[in-house]
Symmetry: none
Subunit: 222 residues, 4 copies
DNA sequence: AATGAATGAGACTTCATTCAT
DNA sequence: CATGAATGAAGTCTCATTCAT
């Protein structure tokens, strides 16, 4: 009996613990978005999470650990979004690639808040080896998938003279650059237009697979 | 005679003052590249410039002013590089556009150090209105020029169905995204490959003006 | 039970907090007396209180706030001293006035230390509006009471041609001037003689109520 | 001939030097009145005097020396004002005493600015032995004179039971206290009323020599 | 587990003083 | 004599971290 209770309590505790950690990570994202790295203090974070000052060092070894896990959360969130989208897009590579692009401009990962945090991290990446490691762990897989899709599309469409790896690099760079544009010009730019710009580019790259802008996308298995 | 001496002294003093400021700005760039924003202290900066602690607040109102002027220096340096390259590329728009792209991957503005600083600033842009103002002052002109070149190229090549503004946005985004790639993967990526990726993209966008990769560029007026 | 404990803890914490604040205020008084305003640093204060450097900004918003509260403490201490003395002096106005004068030369508020601090604050009053506000909050009441007593004494003694408000002003000014004298000539002057000087003046002002110096004071209700 | 020129130049230089010093002292008074001691920097002072930064340490050994001489200037100015007034008041002691009181409320020494500076110095007197020395050098003589006048007036008027030294102390204290009142309540109080309060007090102290307020002063030799 | 007071290193900034020009 | 750039000590304040409760 006590065992069950203990187990239950343990579970609850673990759950509560995880909840606290997530609360703190969310508050960290909010604070970085609002005040940036240099303006973010543990006080801000805990206040944002309606928790007491001391909890951070209770749940995380240090501020740096909290940041690491915050980046990990962001990266994971992004990863699952594009990966799930891709998997749900069916077997065809162009549909899968389109799904990835769509996911990248989904409000969940492409909000003004999230972009600010992404670039805050990237702005520190050069001298925080941890950040690059965390980022790389997820991005590596992503690049491999995009390259795979490019390879398949090129083979399927006989796009001679197009290096799939180069194409993949360009696609990723274009998306990242559009993200930066959204960050720098929040009033002028918008997600939908940025996504459409991506498809303009894809139409130029793979004209048999992606329609000219304005025209309907080719029917599946077409 | 005394007038001349006075003038000379004045000039020398002004020159010395400007030199000190530039010394400090350079040291700031070095420090941001090495330690990032949060790791950069005025102590680091002044030590890097082999100056005494107090000079910063003598030459700049505050640390923030120093940062503003550092970004201003970077932006100006970049501006003059691409702008001069463009002007020296002759009258044809495709050559001018190529010159801009070449400039963007010139080691002077695209070194590992400079990239780190650019992204450090961009990582703070959301809550430092000054940074965006400074950046915008130079970037606005750049976008206008690229859009102008796209317009001319599209007209010249009869590239139907291609929006020049959209194309310009994509070109800028691609460059920025490749910069981010260079920052994140300093070992794997390199400037030359990134620049070539740009030209791959341009070849897809404007096939009559930009050669397929590997093939020689079209002769002028060809 | 837990409630009681919580309450207790709360009380203890509040008490401890108040105690720390008072510790810092006392150390501030000591330091201002010893080194003056310009010589007083937060380091001095905290060392004087045997506390760590950071506590000041933990318990007070800024050094200025600490100073404000220090002046508040002094003013309150003075207020309660003369006010309580007055109330305990019985119903007759001359006794009450005498009690106020006595209180003003009580060692508690008229020590060499306290005088130094009083005049340190007054020396800054012109460009620190806060100080005057704090001072005024207590001094206004004091002047009103002295004026009231003068009014009653004048009515009771038929001292024709004496303005009570003018008399009150003179009495206050005399006391303040004697305080300054005590500050400037700590070796020569002394509290007792200063107080006696006050009574000399009162004897001239209200001869029916205050005895000539050396003679015994009139008996109560005499 | 050259000797004459040299002498002339020397004189001019000395005059210029003295003028510079006086300029700096005046600017110091202005700055202390406006910003207080802690807000006064040599930069403020030199800017106020429209001189260059470095001159202070050229004309004065240190900031402290400048302050010493500023207090000296103030004390001297006050001294000459009351002393000259006294001497011009004729041979009778009550007239002389009245002249001293009048001088003390002359705008030249009793302006809002000068009061602020006087109390700024007095606020530091306890731990700046120099200030008290400078002050004492002039004040000693003043007290002696007032005591002498009181002695003469008491003898002349047969004011039995009045200690001249005690009376002198009260007179000085009253004036100082009224000065403080003027400092603390610049809007309500005013010099004329403060001076009149003094004469109210003198009328109580020496009724045969000073008229009741409102009544005309006794005629000379009356 | 949680709270929040306390610590102390270190950041930015001010400013008296020095000194080359 | 005069200027103003430069120095560097010292001050206030912030904040990650620790720890008693």
């Amino acid at each position: 009996m006590t065992g069950v209770i203990a187990k239950k309590t343990g579970k609850t505790r673990t759950a509560a613990r995880a909840a606290r950690r997530q609360q703190l990570i969310s508050a960290t994202i909010d604070s970085i978005a609002e005040r940036g790295f240099s303006g973010t203090t543990l006080d801000n974070v805990t206040k944002g999470a309606s928790l007491s000052h001391g909890v951070v060092n209770f749940h995380f070894d240090s501020k740096e650990t909290l940041y690491d896990e915050t980046l990990g959360f962001l990266a994971r969130e992004h990863y699952f979004l594009w990966h799930d989208s891709m998997e749900q897009a069916g077997p065809e590579p162009d549909r899968q690639l389109a799904a990835i692009v769509e996911a990248d401009f989904n409000i969940k990962v492409c909000s003004s808040k999230k972009l600010a945090v992404w670039f805050a991290f990237w702005g520190q990446v050069k001298y925080r080896p941890n950040y690059i490691k965390i980022h790389y762990a997820y991005d590596e897989h992503r690049f491999a998938e995009i390259a795979r899709l490019c390879t398949e599309i090129i083979a399927h469409g006989n796009y001679d003279g197009l290096e799939p790896v180069s194409a993949a690099r360009c696609i990723e760079a274009l998306i990242d650059g559009l993200w930066l544009n959204l960050l720098l010009y929040p009033s002028g730019a918008n997600r939908i237009r940025a996504r459409d710009d991506c498809f303009v580019f894809l139409a130029k790259l793979f004209p048999k697979h992606f329609p000219e802008p304005g025209k309907p996308r080719r029917p599946a298995n077409g």
